[in-house]
């Protein structure tokens, strides 16, 4: 690790001031940042430790929703009684990620901001437009098994690797952010960015902005499923994942909130996929149509071509399971 200065941020305002400059990064659980600092992918001059700033609570909101503190750990969130009963897709997504040791340290804010697992990004001897703008993208013609099939650019085909945010996207949660210009909130669905010509920009946080919490809307019930397909049955990142909140009324879909992991630079939410199901009775043909819409613009890069049929089958499996559970 390169030498750096460590400062315990005395207040949220001070944490914003410190991180407004490029050379200071906030540290929460540290499970992603320290890993990348050891690899010299991240080389901050200073770390602002935000762990003692409070916002670690999980609290009911006035309208029946739930506010998850950015500094609450992934474990505290997944095992919270209300998350388990009212937002099971979120518990399931978190529990499907990493290991208990990591989830015990990982925070909700850090989880949203975790960086891609692209091998070229994490190896400083390789070209990578995300890490070193203009150096090229090693993955496009290289090892791209984990990489994106939707929303890619000719600059970067990396995926956002996390699980929690996929469930948050299906649930329509909101990210609460504090910075020198005050507070703002952004839907999780709009929080992460596509790579475009600026693959180093991964989310909408401006310099100096700190995530303080994530707000879940009032619970909607329904059958909630998080299906993660990975290369071993535990402790691996998603190749493809689906978060689904499904309801049937009189044998027809009356709710179909779907988000996908492992497919893009952000949790993928295409409202047309759920909409095409609404008012229809479940059938293989309908599930195929939903997959056609989802994958309309999908493009593989050789090694990850398998993700296109895998996504189709996973969506099919999730919708079949949800329909059986709901019936």
């Amino acid at each position: 690790m390169r030498p750096f200065q460590y400062t315990r941020a005395p207040s949220l305002a001070e944490a914003s001031n410190m991180t407004a400059g490029k050379d200071t990064l906030a540290i929460a659980g540290g499970t992603n940042l320290l890993d990348l600092m050891k690899l010299q992918v991240e080389t901050p001059d200073q770390l602002a430790d935000i762990n003692r700033l409070g916002f670690a609570e999980i609290e009911d909101t006035d309208n029946g929703g739930l506010r998850l503190g950015a500094l609450a750990t992934n474990t505290e969130t997944a095992v919270h009684p209300r998350v388990r009963s009212d937002y099971p897709v979120l518990s399931r997504a978190i529990l499907a990620g990493a290991t208990q040791q990591l989830r015990n340290k990982a925070t909700n804010g850090g989880n949203l901001c975790q960086r891609t697992r692209c091998f070229y990004f994490t190896n400083i001897d390789q070209p990578c437009n995300k890490r070193e703008p203009g150096s090229g993208c090693g993955a496009i013609d290289g090892i791209a098994k984990l990489h994106a099939i939707l929303g890619t650019s000719d600059q970067c085909i990396a995926t956002y690797p996390g699980d929690m945010a996929v469930a948050l996207s299906a649930l329509g949660a909101t990210v609460h952010i504090s910075g020198d210009k005050g507070e703002r909130s952004v839907p999780v669905r709009d929080f992460h960015c596509l790579p475009g010509d600026t693959p180093w920009i991964e989310n909408v946080l401006e310099p100096g902005e700190i995530i303080t919490g994530i707000v879940l809307p009032a619970p909607v019930g329904g059958t909630q499923i998080y299906r993660k397909v990975r290369e071993r049955s535990s402790y691996a990142f998603a190749l493809v994942s689906v978060a689904a909140i499904i309801e049937l009324t009189d044998g027809k879909f009356s709710r179909a909130d779907l988000a996908f992991g492992g497919l893009a630079h952000k949790p993928w939410h295409d409202p047309r996929v759920g909409e095409c199901l609404l008012g229809q009775p479940p059938s293989d043909a309908l599930f195929d149509k939903a997959a056609d819409i989802l994958l309309e613009n999908a493009r593989g890069f050789g090694e990850n071509d398998f993700k296109i049929p895998l996504t189709r089958r996973t969506l099919h499996a999730v919708l079949s399971q949800a329909t059986e559970d709901a019936a």
Partner: protein, 169 residues
């Protein structure tokens, strides 16, 4: 007052160099070499210790961040003369070959049994709510953050199952 970390009930000043991981602090600064370094990247679990009652990877956290925290390492769980229930069960079931992953396995399992007692669900749990039934499947999922290069997994699970079933205390 200087920042301190309490390790196995003894207080130590935190290191001056902020780069020191909790793992390097334990091994190189205060001489507790029971905790092992496998990957140094959060991937193997050899460095697992219990901080404020919760198991974490000590390689992915800075010692300087732990002012006021209380750490338990393998040395704090038992001694050769008075091993903990899990330490004894690992011996009886041959829950290791080279032994390198073992301190991490035992710290991890010690905290895991508390998590099950608190009814924290896992990815392997059929229901998110209610009592957790201990099974081989639950133990394997919950221990998946502790790799064993010697592949002693079957005996590790057997050792944990015995203690989980209250076979010994």
């Amino acid at each position: 007052m200087a920042d301190t970390i309490t390790v196995n009930e003894t207080a130590y000043p935190t290191p001056d160099d902020p780069r020191v991981s909790l793992l390097d602090f334990l091994r190189q600064h205060i001489g507790l070499t029971g905790t092992k370094k496998g990957c140094d990247h959060g991937q193997c679990g050899a460095c697992t210790v219990i901080v404020n009652g919760v198991r974490i990877n000590s390689c992915l956290t800075l010692a300087a961040m732990h002012d006021g925290d209380s750490v338990t390492t393998i040395e704090g769980l038992g001694t050769p003369d008075e091993p903990s229930a899990l330490q004894r069960a690992f011996l009886e079931h041959d829950g290791f070959q080279c032994g390198y992953c073992t301190p991490g396995q035992i710290c991890s399992a010690t905290a895991m049994l508390e998590e099950i007692a608190a009814d924290w669900p896992s990815d392997a749990s059929e229901n998110l709510e209610g009592r957790i039934a201990i099974s081989g499947e639950e133990i394997r999922e919950r221990m998946s953050g502790n790799l064993c290069r010697c592949g002693a997994y079957a005996n590790i699970v057997a050792a944990i199952e015995e203690v989980a079933a209250g076979g010994r205390s």
